[in-house]
Symmetry: C2
Subunit: 203 residues, 2 copies
């Protein structure tokens, strides 16, 4: 098994944290996007969308999409579940994972893509998109702060894939677009301290 | 168990088709968004984001997010699986479900929101977003047509939740923003005929 990695990508980071939380050892091969390595014929044969992360199995099958990769790893290593423990819990974790993705991670990536030098010429950058999504992310931090009342983690009492998605979103928010969690959002700040102090946080 | 429904929503349709494919009978209660029923204190206590669909369990627990609802129904009714049969298959289905969501469903919903009268005043409509995403959806139809070569369904030999997401995307594309599957994309057209002729397609 091998993971094609993109070190700076928040999606790839989700998978790396997941692997570390599971205590797995999976060789990683960084793909140099700036050098176009993801657009070679060879790589496109593995993932026709030319994206990372990508998991290669020993029989040559490829799994793309960060959460699909995590799901596969959870399926073959079910101990210490990060997608929820039982039928209901799994649905609740999935609900929160998706909320964190749609409300924070994807908009934050979008702000970055629509403003950063690196993406110039690769897509039609629309400043207004960045402005609107940025405001929406800030508004939704208040919402998440309220939702965290009485809960240690995003989906309840346990650290799950929903926390991984949220922490990767806020890492990118802070590093790439200057959106920080305001101190007065005490629940969200406490959660942030808790998840970023885990030994896996810098995976 | 009860489903709070939004009849015209492609996300709610995904859940209705899923329920029909599973052969389940779940009472549905339409929520009148135009009348603001989703923003009442009572509804917001069930789903703080005020969105539909929403599954209410008999013990008063609520599950939001269409795919989380489907996952719960799959978990409690595992026969006739729509999320894949085994560990690997489940990852492949998830990969395709997410691709259909990110590449088709979400952009098509976005085009609608950024152009339609109904959304005026509810968000900052940006015409350029609609234009760019619309073109991208058309380009990606070619990609999907190629990917379907040799496969009956999106994720392989079986009808899955990935097909449900894709068909709900293209139903909305056709009805709401005038994007149709071009006839010359023969694999995609054959798939479209196949899925839309299923008895559940109009659920």
């Amino acid at each position: 098994m091998k993971l094609y990695d993109l070190p700076a990508s928040p999606n790839a980071r989700r998978v790396r944290i997941f692997i570390a939380e599971k205590g797995l050892e999976i060789p990683m091969e960084p793909v140099d996007m700036a050098a176009g390595e993801n657009k070679t014929k060879e790589y496109l044969a593995k993932n026709s969308l030319g994206r990372m992360p990508l998991l290669e199995l020993d029989d040559g099958i490829h799994i793309a999409e960060s959460i699909a990769i995590c799901r596969y790893l959870e399926n073959i290593h079910p101990e210490n579940p990060l997608f929820g423990k039982n039928e209901l819990d799994q649905a609740i974790v999935e609900m929160w994972q998706r909320r964190m993705e749609f409300i924070f991670l994807n908009p934050i990536i979008n702000v970055f893509r629509h403003t950063h030098e690196m993406w110039k010429g690769q897509l039609t950058q629309i400043a207004k998109v960045a402005e609107v999504e940025s405001e929406e992310v800030k508004t939704k931090m208040d919402w998440l702060n309220t939702e965290l009342e009485g809960n240690q983690f995003i989906a309840g009492d346990n650290y799950t894939v929903a926390d991984i998605t949220a922490q990767c979103a806020f890492v990118m928010g802070k590093a790439a677009i200057g959106i920080r969690i305001p101190e007065e959002l005490t629940n969200l700040s406490a959660w942030w301290s808790l998840v970023t102090s885990r030994p896996t946080a810098r995976a």
